[in-house]
């Protein structure tokens, strides 16, 4: 039986984190550190969520001069609703505990 979309443990951990502050913009590096996901896993997930309309993205000016603009992410209204449903329906075995916590976002 094919797996439902966006129910992998990695995707669930990203959704869980984004839902903690759905109106805030998140940076990719911080998401990676907070979920413990490597960049090669995290970015394909973000790409897919953005393609599905669950995630909105925007470029922000860098905080320090000389650095490139940064890409930030947050859930759309529809995405937040769908994420809540997905997390509620996900079996407990699929839920992952975040192992890494770095306070603050960079």
């Amino acid at each position: 039986m094919p797996r439902l979309p966006n129910t992998s443990p990695q995707t669930l951990s990203v959704l869980e984190l984004l839902l903690e502050s759905p109106r805030s913009w998140h940076y990719g590096y911080a998401l990676s550190q907070l979920t413990g996901l490597k960049s090669g896993t995290l970015y394909p997930i973000l790409m897919r969520l953005a393609d599905q309309g669950w995630l909105e993205t925007r470029w922000t000016e860098p905080e320090q001069p000389g650095r490139p603009p940064r890409h930030t992410y947050r859930l759309t209204g529809e995405g937040a609703k769908a994420a809540r449903t997905t997390l509620a329906e996900a079996p407990p075995s699929r839920m992952t505990r975040r192992l890494v916590f770095v306070p603050g976002s960079r």
Partner: protein, 286 residues
């Protein structure tokens, strides 16, 4: 713990080189996500962290290019459908024509006959000549198929190359002492080689997970060896059902195992070639 000094700087330089290489592998219009990853790499505390972060760009680029290919409209529908088929048929038929012709010339030259087998006057009086034709022809067929981007034909010739190579070694090692056993071993080898190539082709072509991070997608060589082992087991099981004498012979066993493993590795190389071509956006999916 941050790592400083020469190694840290080396890792940093490697990370920047890798980023530059990755950017060249993605079309300018599809670089948004790679640019995002690149910008975030500036947040890394040291060179090693940056290198670890940038290494994630490799699967990301693979995903970006795969999505771009999937979203591309099919250009010239009829041509897109017919051209790969023609290339595959030409690569398979052309290769066989060359091999058959070469064998025909060799039998005339050495005044021997194929049907006599290992009897006096048979072609197996000259095993190295005919083995070279069989192996060389198949390998040439595989190379031509890859050049024509005819992936199915390339897998086909990989199976034949493996079969001819292992078969030649098997023959030179043990000789043909009795034809029924030889026939059974040949069947098992061909089955094992076919299973090996097909399984690895499936491993290479299947998008394993939505994140592309499954064990098999991260450990391709292991995946190929597993596919080879499964192929050997399947061929061995099928042949045991018909010919129990085969399993008593260690040499035959090695021949079947060798066929499965060799085919799996060759098929992996073909898939890798296809992926590399795909990264440049030039491959035609077959």
């Amino acid at each position: 713990m941050p790592m400083h000094g020469f190694l840290g700087r080396l890792a940093d330089a490697l990370a920047r080189q890798l980023l530059s290489w990755l950017h060249r592998r993605v079309e300018p219009g599809s670089r948004e996500w790679l640019d995002a990853l690149t910008a975030e790499s500036e947040c890394a505390d040291d060179g090693w962290q940056r290198l670890r972060w940038v290494l994630g760009g490799v699967p990301l680029v693979w995903t970006i290019n795969k999505r771009r290919r999937m979203n591309e409209p099919t250009r010239g529908t009829m041509r897109a459908r017919i051209a790969p088929g023609v290339a595959n048929i030409a690569a398979i038929a052309g290769g066989h024509a060359v091999i058959i012709q070469a064998i025909d010339v060799a039998t005339h030259f050495f005044r021997c006959h194929l049907l006599f087998g290992n009897q006096p006057g048979g072609c197996q009086d000259h095993p190295f000549v005919f083995a070279s034709i069989a192996i060389g022809g198949a390998v040439l067929g595989m190379i031509v198929a890859l050049a024509l981007r005819a992936r199915f034909a390339a897998y086909w010739w990989a199976v034949i190359s493996v079969f001819n190579t292992v078969g030649s070694v098997w023959y030179l090692r043990s000789g043909i002492v009795d034809l029924p056993r030889y026939g059974a071993t040949q069947s098992a080898m061909l089955m094992a080689a076919t299973f090996g190539a097909v399984l690895v082709a499936i491993v290479r072509e299947t998008p394993w997970t939505e994140t592309g991070a499954s064990f098999l997608s991260r450990h391709r060589i292991t995946a190929h060896l597993i596919a080879g082992t499964i192929s050997f087991a399947m061929a061995d099981f099928l042949i045991r059902m018909h010919d129990r004498h085969l399993v008593a012979d260690t040499v035959s066993h090695y021949a079947v195992l060798g066929s499965a493993m060799f085919a799996a590795i060759l098929a992996g190389l073909i898939g890798r070639h296809g992926s590399r071509r795909s990264a440049k956006g030039t491959i035609v999916r077959l």
